[in-house]
């Protein structure tokens, strides 16, 4: 006689049907994945804006044509200050691009002040725009070396926009975190309600096996295993459904992120590496972690719900 391995009267397939919970948990996992992806994207954009190629540093060199302070021992031709500064900048690793503003650019930039003073012959400093490689902070070590050659050199990190964008990114991240929190709370409530309904439909059987000596941990373990597996399955579906959505979104966002050179067409489906190159690793990890997180949340919630419910039995 082929009898079910677990014929303990709990009939969990009836008490916790296999469609309802995975559907709800899957939807929650899908939403959580999107919210998390938003958070991750905001984080990487803010990284780029604060440290990356988006940041511009300006160097002001007053009296650019004055001779530079060269060390006497070197006995070179005394160069102008601007030449000395440009030479140092060219030899500094981490600087991707330097651009000296022309006189016309400078005057255009300073037009409001020049008009106010009405003096066009004011001595102007030379202004150089620097672009630094992402993640490089060259300013700290650079400034003393420049000042040694050209006293009065000023460096200014143009941070107004990057600061604003970083603040925007931070608030986007906070929103994403909040959304994940709300989704998880709703998921926990849904699991609790489903578990309570399941307990109610099998209340007679639970009372009986309790009277026959089944421990609380046995009963809660049976419910939690079932719910945990259903939630894991739901989370898996949610993650898989979120994947095409995230691929599409990351293609849309490609011009704004470092992923700009990702191939626009889908790669061969067998080539896992090519697929993984389409999404940033943080997003991939997030998609991998969502299903077990859903399963674990379902398991733990059910354990607590069932144990609390069983307290009514002596």
């Amino acid at each position: 006689m082929a009898r079910q391995r677990y014929h303990d009267g709990l009939a969990l397939r009836q008490a916790l049907p296999g469609r309802f919970l995975p559907f709800l948990v899957g939807s929650m996992a899908f939403l959580a994945a999107l919210a998390l992806a938003g958070g991750i994207a905001a984080h990487s954009l803010s990284q780029r804006w604060t440290h990356g190629a988006g940041a511009v540093t300006t160097v002001q060199v007053p009296g650019p044509t004055d001779p530079a302070t060269t060390t006497a021992a070197m006995g070179q031709m005394p160069a102008t200050r601007i030449d000395a500064v440009l030479a140092i900048l060219a030899a500094t690793p981490g600087i991707t691009d330097t651009h000296r503003l022309s006189d016309a650019e400078l005057r255009a930039l300073l037009a409001p002040w020049i008009e106010q003073t009405g003096d066009a012959s004011l001595p102007l400093p030379a202004v150089i725009e620097l672009h630094t490689a992402p993640g490089q902070d060259v300013a700290a070590s650079l400034l003393p070396r420049l000042q040694a050659q050209a006293p009065g050199v000023l460096m200014e990190h143009d941070s107004v926009w990057s600061d604003r964008l970083a603040a925007l990114a931070a608030s986007l991240q906070a929103c994403a975190g909040l959304a994940v929190l709300v989704v998880m709370t709703v998921a926990v409530c849904v699991v609790m309600a489903a578990t309570r309904a399941g307990l109610l439909t099998r209340r007679q059987a639970i009372g009986l096996i309790h009277a026959l000596g089944a421990t609380d941990s046995y009963i809660s373990g049976r419910f939690a295993t079932r719910v945990g597996l259903l939630a894991l399955w739901g989370g898996l579906c949610g993650s898989v459904l979120a994947l095409p959505m995230l691929l599409a979104l990351s293609q849309l966002a490609a011009p704004f992120t470092a992923m700009g050179d990702a191939p626009a067409t889908a790669p061969d489906w067998r080539d896992l590496h090519a697929w993984s190159a389409l999404l940033p690793p943080a997003l991939l990890w997030m998609l991998v972690i969502v299903p077990p997180a859903a399963g674990l949340t379902g398991w733990a919630t059910t354990q607590l719900t069932v144990r609390a419910w069983l307290r009514r039995l002596p």
């Binding site: 014929h7 303990d8 009267g9 009986l208 309790h210 009277a211 026959l212 000596g213 089944a214 002596p314």
Partner: protein, 223 residues
Amino acid sequence: MFRLHDVSYAYGGSQAGVAALSHVSLDVAQGEFRWLLGPSGAGKSSLLSILSLEVQASSGMVEILGVPVRQTRRAGLARLRRRIGAVKQDFGLLPDMSVFDNVALPLRLQHRAEAEIAHEVHAIMKWVGLEHRLDALPPQLSGGEQQRVAIARAVIYRPALLVADEPTNALDERQAGRLMRMFHRLAELGTTIVVATHNDAIVAKYPAPTIELLHGHLVRDHG
């Protein structure tokens, strides 16, 4: 064996609730058989549910098989319940599980091997004369048949304490006689047995020490 000292029980809490037992003290030794007598509403079922750990006494001391109930944690009580068999007045069978599965339930909860379970279930069901109804659902059985299934489930794991609430009320005289012989055999093997009944004829036919309740009070112990 079990000991009760000054035990009271009220449904719905000791304050406003209905008093079902008042200041009952009892001491029953291992392997004893006791009748539990008293008119309807006297508190027989209430006493049996305290003994089967289905409810906790509102006050007083309860010690079952040497275990003090109030001082024992939930896991310990669950372990203790596995040594107690109970035949309920309403049989307590699961209507959506076959007779086989109902009777096998206690053994499955003890994680016994399926082959052993099948062997034991067939043996006990043969003894109660229902080995041909193993695949039936309880609602498809007559009252007497359901009662015999409930008895089979209560004795299949050879409990150290057996409490039976009116176990013969749906049985004919011949089956009741068989049941009484089984109870005496189990008592000889060391099981403490308490049987509640209204049936004066069967008490007269199988005389044994009695416990008698009236309005929740103990009016006779032994005699």
